[in-house]
């Protein structure tokens, strides 16, 4: 009897792992939008191209274990809980305060002067089938490669989404032996709740804002994870570390273009100011993204539904005191990335 993909039970590690190879003990169960199931991909190389064996084909027995590749994508409507999870693991330095719900999280990128490794999480996927499971994998030692928060005009939860790409060390436990808790109660934050101020301009108050995104990419050094001594699983190499590469923050938005709109002048003058975006479900479930210093890198005339608009690509700058990006959140879940 086959299984439907909606049966997927997805558990994301709540508490961070103590190290890359020790599985986390606590999980949050989330729904998601994309149907991609994670594949524990063992990679084998072969001798087809090697010279001296008489032909260009793979020899009998000419395949050799190489390494494990594990990676996938999570697409979700943006809830306070999931955005907290994604940014906490994606940026890495997390302070949680509060003794009861709502808990407040202050999240900043890790300082490369203290560490190059983000907190690692475990991830479990289970799909029930025929009285057992056709998928039951625990991926140990995973890190966030990038996350993107997107907002759009239009009704419903699709107006506010969060996407995460993650990569794994390759360490895998099958069957997982994990009992995933009940679905997390999520508080979705519609774009209709948004406040956005960029370089001193209130884009919501002026009813100009249409769409946009905030992103962070860690450019994880995945190959460097396969270092001499990084470890083996079933004869295939697994990563013993996943360090950040050159990280890239991003910010883009499209707003209606009006007479006197300041974007082009801001671009030409390279005026710098803060960019602050807040979305919320209610007073206890919210997320605020703050770029302390933002200049504009590009301002292009555009069109949306026949209305003339301008698409601005920001150039986040590093502030000596407040860094390049801070995410502050409130939600009812304690212990995310702790």
């Amino acid at each position: 009897m086959p299984a439907r993909v909606q049966q997927l039970i997805l558990g994301l590690g709540k508490g961070k792992q103590t190290n890359i190879s020790t599985a986390g003990a606590t999980f949050l169960r989330f729904k998601k939008l994309n149907a991609d199931l994670t594949t524990p991909q063992p990679v084998f190389e072969n001798d087809a191209a090697e010279i001296g064996k008489g032909n260009e084909f793979i020899s009998d027995g000419g395949t050799f274990p190489s390494h494990y590749n594990v990676a996938n994508r999570l697409e979700k409507y943006a809830s306070a809980e999931f955005v907290t999870w994604a940014t906490a693991y994606g940026l890495g330095n997390v302070a949680m305060t509060g003794s009861s719900a709502p808990y407040s999280y202050t999240i900043t990128p890790i300082n490369p002067g203290t560490t190059l490794e983000l907190p690692y999480f475990s991830l479990v996927e289970q799909v029930a089938e025929g009285g057992g499971n056709c998928v039951d994998n625990l991926y140990v030692g995973c890190a966030v490669e990038d996350w993107t928060y997107q907002f759009n005009y239009g009704p419903g939860r699709a107006s506010s989404k969060m996407t995460v790409n993650w990569a794994g060390s390759g360490l895998l436990t099958t069957p997982s032996a994990i009992t995933v808790p009940a679905l997390t109660t999520e508080n979705n934050m519609l774009a209709a709740s948004m406040a956005l101020s960029v370089n001193g301009v209130d884009y919501v108050g002026g009813k100009r804002i249409l769409s946009g995104s905030i992103g962070w990419k860690n450019n994880l050094l995945l190959n460097a994870g396969f270092y001499p001594g990084s470890g083996l699983q079933n004869g295939l190499q697994v990563r013993g570390r996943m360090e950040i590469g050159a990280r890239v923050p991003s910010f883009q938005f499209t707003a209606r273009l009006l007479s006197g709109s300041p974007e082009y002048a801001t671009l030409v003058a390279q005026t710098r100011g803060s960019a602050v975006l807040t979305v919320q479900h209610d007073a206890n479930n919210s997320v605020t993204f703050t770029f302390p210093k933002m200049a504009f890198q590009m301002a292009e005339n555009a069109e949306a539904d026949g209305i003339v608009a301008v698409t601005v690509t920001g150039a986040p700058q590093y502030d000596a005191t407040n860094g390049v990006l801070t995410v502050t959140t409130q939600c009812a879940i304690t212990g995310i990335a702790q």
Binding site: N93, V94, A95, M96, T97, G98, S104, T106, T108, I110, N111, G113, T114, T115, T290, T321, N322, G323, T326, T328, Q338
Partner: protein, 67 residues
């Protein structure tokens, strides 16, 4: 020689500070405060539990002391 002895004592004190478990015999931070510690220098600061107070330290690499 005295300078050298003092320098050695300073180094030992710095090493002890760095290697000490963060919570050893230290009272918890006051209500509304968060204890932050730099993982390399071992420096500990109790600051208000607000992003305005936390972020400048976190940017420098300070991490929250749990428990």
């Amino acid at each position: 020689m005295a300078d050298l002895k003092q320098e050695l004592a300073d180094i030992e004190a710095a090493v002890d500070k760095r290697e000490a478990p963060p919570n050893t015999l230290v009272p918890p931070p006051a209500l509304g405060k968060v204890r932050m510690r730099h993982p390399h220098s071992g420096d500990v600061k109790d600051v208000d539990a607000t992003p305005a107070a936390l972020v400048p330290l976190m940017v420098q690499g300070y991490e929250q002391v749990k428990g």
